[in-house]
Each structure stands twice: as structure tokens, then as C-alpha cells.
């Protein structure tokens, strides 16, 4: 996932051009039957960028890391999924340092939504 030691990690300037991000937006719009506005899309991309920078991984590589190829088709990597679930929880906990619980959850949910619409089952502990 992360870059090799010694190479500087960087993300593309426009994450929206990445196939996994395009797939996310298209699948989400299709599921909910609504197109998101420019501002909403930008906010999500900013959150996703922040998560990816924190974990030194680009969105396409993140999705790819969660599947392994098999003769029957791609299979989820459960251990890797658990790692990513933890990374999102940590990311959300960090966000709580400056945001309230719901706003921090929204940040975590942006990443979860990105993964869900790329085929990785994911949810969050409920807020009671």
C-alpha cells in the first residue's frame, strides 16, 4: 500500500480522475438516484485525500489492496479489511479532536462510502 521507503508519497492533484473515485461517485449516484452537488463532491474528495495522505496510499491502490485475484474472481482480503477498518477508526478519532462526534463520523463515513461503493462491505458502530 504505502510507497517504498525513500520515495516521496504523493497523490494526483484531482482524485476525481481516478477510476475508483469515479466508480464511487457513479455508483453512489445510481444507488441513491441523486447527483451530488459540486461542493459536496469537493468535501468528500478533501476527506478522502486527507485519509489517503495519512495512510500513504492512493484510492485505487487502497481498493486493490482489499482484493486478491483467484480463478473464481476477486476475493476480499479479510485481514487487510480489518486493518483498513482500524485505519478509518483512527482517522475518525483524530477528526474528533477538532470536530464534534457527528462531524467526525461524517469524515469516517466518506471513506467507508468510498469503499462500500467499490465493493468492500463496511459499516460503522452506531451513534446511539
Amino acid at each position: 500500500m504505502a510507497t517504498d521507503a525513500g520515495t516521496e508519497f504523493s497523490l494526483p492533484e484531482d482524485l476525481a480522475e481516478l477510476p475508483s473515485v469515479q466508480h464511487w461517485f457513479e455508483a453512489q449516484a445510481k444507488h441513491w438516484n441523486r447527483r451530488q452537488g459540486e461542493a459536496e463532491a469537493r468535501r468528500k474528495l478533501d476527506v478522502l485525500r486527507s485519509f489517503c495522505e495519512t495512510n500513504q496510499v492512493d484510492p485505487d491502490a487502497l481498493v486493490k489492496s482489499l482484493f486478491r485475484p483467484t480463478p473464481e474472481g476477486p476475493r476480499i482480503r479479510l485481514k487487510q479489511r480489518r486493518i483498513v477498518v482500524e485505519q478509518i477508526a483512527t482517522f475518525e478519532a483524530k477528526a474528533r479532536e477538532s470536530l464534534d462526534v457527528r462531524a467526525a463520523r461524517d469524515s469516517g463515513n466518506v471513506v467507508r462510502s468510498f469503499l462500500i461503493h467499490n465493493g468492500v462491505a463496511m459499516t460503522a458502530p452506531i451513534i446511539r
Binding site: 453512489q28 441513491w32 463515513n109 467507508r112 462500500i116 452506531i126 451513534i127
Partner: protein, 260 residues
């Protein structure tokens, strides 16, 4: 509630009021309904362990979750773990004789204690018990009848309910389940946070593709008048999705802080 309405309103509820406990008498009612299901050889093929979400340690609760059931397990306050009892046929000799004695199995149909001892036990029940594949299939069917009645009873008393999978290996450890019980499903129970229609009745395969008359492949043709009557009775309801379903789901997701 009328039976047809209970059948019509049953849904797999996936959003529960996490803060609202379920009255113990309602849980008992669910179990009482299960106990009265049809059961082969009148032996008990199912067992259930009622677990209260908030009585589990955080570690145990987390250990039971699998990716797609996490949110429901967080929300539903009661989890009923259902098991099949593979040893059920071993009681058949005595339970069948009991049915003979109370007039359920009668000489008019050929039943007697001798028939149980000399024919049913050695020629039917013992071979089933010795055939793991047949035993497992029978156990699944028989326990499933109890679970179905438990689901319908929950709906009848105004509760939301759903069958889910959990990490059964961990459940066996945590709950101290004996080896002769086969883990089947977990029935979640709670007060529904979503509308009881949950967006409408789920799609089903066409009636005529499922049910036949006389021979396989000859459809049992559906009478529209019967369908109309069942609609009036509340058994056949509007098909999902209701126009408002997406908005409802988004509102629920936001209420509970779940992803969209």
C-alpha cells in the same frame, strides 16, 4: 393481528431502536410460539439462547460480528441464537409412543407401540440418525419451522425481527454451546426504527415458477381473485421500493451515523 397480516407485514428489519429494551414477556411469547411448531416425531429439534446485547462484553460483542451485520447487531437489543439438535431422533421412540397414548397417532392409521418399537425405530429413525447428511437436512427443516414461528410471533406482537449470520465459532465459545447442537441463525429482536413496512414487500420470483400442479413444470396458475382478496386481507402488500424508501434509509443512516 390477523394471521394474514402477520405474514404480509413480516420483513427483515435492519434498523432498530437501540435504546428501547424488549419486554421479557415478549421474548417468552416468541419462544412459546417456536415451541408449538410442527415437529417430526414430536421431538424438539431446535434450541435457543436468548442473549441481551448489553450484557455482552465489548470484546465478545465485537467478536460475533461479521461485515454486513455489524450495524444491526449494534442496534437490536436482543439476539436469539438458534440451534438445531441433531440428537432429536434419539427421543423418537418415547415421543412417538406418547403421541399414540394421547390419540394423535392412532390405530386407524396403523399406529401402535409395537409399530414404533419394531418398525419406526429400527427402520426409520435409527437409519436417519446414522446418516449425517439426511440428519442435517432434517434438522435444518425442523428447526426452521420453529424459527419461522418465532419470526411471525415477533411481528404479531409489534416487534421488528430479522435472521442474521454471526461468527458462529466464537458464539459457540462465548455461549458454551454443546457439540450436538448445530448453529443455524441468530434472530435479532427489537423495536423497529424503520417503518414496519420497511419500504414494501420484497421481490419474489413469479408464483407460477415456484409452484406446480400435478407434475413438475406445470404451473399452479394463480387466480387473480384470490390475489385481490389477499391484498384486501393484508397478506399481499405493496411491492418495494416505496417512493419514500431511499429518503427513509438516508434519514436512518444519518440518525445512527452510518455510511451512505
Amino acid at each position: 393481528m390477523e394471521f394474514k397480516q402477520v405474514v404480509g407485514l413480516r420483513r427483515s428489519i435492519r434498523y432498530y431502536q437501540p435504546y428501547r429494551p424488549v419486554e421479557r414477556e415478549k421474548i417468552q411469547t416468541i419462544l412459546e410460539a417456536a415451541r408449538l411448531c410442527s415437529q417430526a416425531v414430536n421431538s424438539a429439534w431446535s434450541r435457543a439462547i436468548v442473549v441481551y446485547r448489553d450484557d455482552l462484553s465489548d470484546d465478545d460483542r465485537e467478536a460475533l460480528k461479521i461485515p454486513t451485520t455489524t450495524a444491526q447487531l449494534d442496534m437490536a437489543p436482543v439476539w436469539i441464537f438458534w440451534y438445531g439438535d441433531m440428537s432429536a431422533p434419539s427421543l423418537g421412540k418415547s415421543t412417538l409412543k406418547e403421541l399414540v397414548d394421547i390419540g394423535a397417532l392412532n390405530p386407524s392409521h396403523g399406529w401402535s407401540h409395537s409399530y414404533v418399537d419394531d418398525v419406526i425405530w429400527p427402520q426409520v429413525l435409527q437409519p436417519i440418525a446414522a446418516n449425517p447428511q439426511a440428519l442435517l437436512a432434517l434438522t435444518g427443516v425442523e428447526a426452521g419451522l420453529a424459527i419461522c414461528q418465532a419470526l411471525l410471533a415477533a411481528v404479531d406482537i409489534g416487534l421488528g425481527t430479522q435472521l442474521v449470520a454471526v461468527n458462529q465459532a466464537r458464539a459457540t465459545e462465548i455461549l458454551g454451546v454443546p457439540e450436538h447442537l448445530v448453529p443455524l441463525v441468530v434472530q435479532l429482536v427489537g423495536y423497529s426504527a424503520e417503518d414496519r413496512e420497511a419500504g414494501g414487500q420484497r421481490p419474489r420470483q413469479p408464483f407460477e415458477e415456484l409452484y406446480f400442479e400435478g407434475r413438475y413444470g406445470a404451473p399452479f396458475e394463480r387466480d387473480d381473485a384470490v390475489v385481490d382478496q389477499l391484498k384486501r386481507d393484508g397478506m399481499i402488500m405493496s411491492s418495494a421500493p416505496a417512493k419514500w424508501r431511499h429518503e427513509e434509509v438516508r434519514a436512518l443512516a444519518r440518525q445512527f451515523g452510518l455510511p451512505e
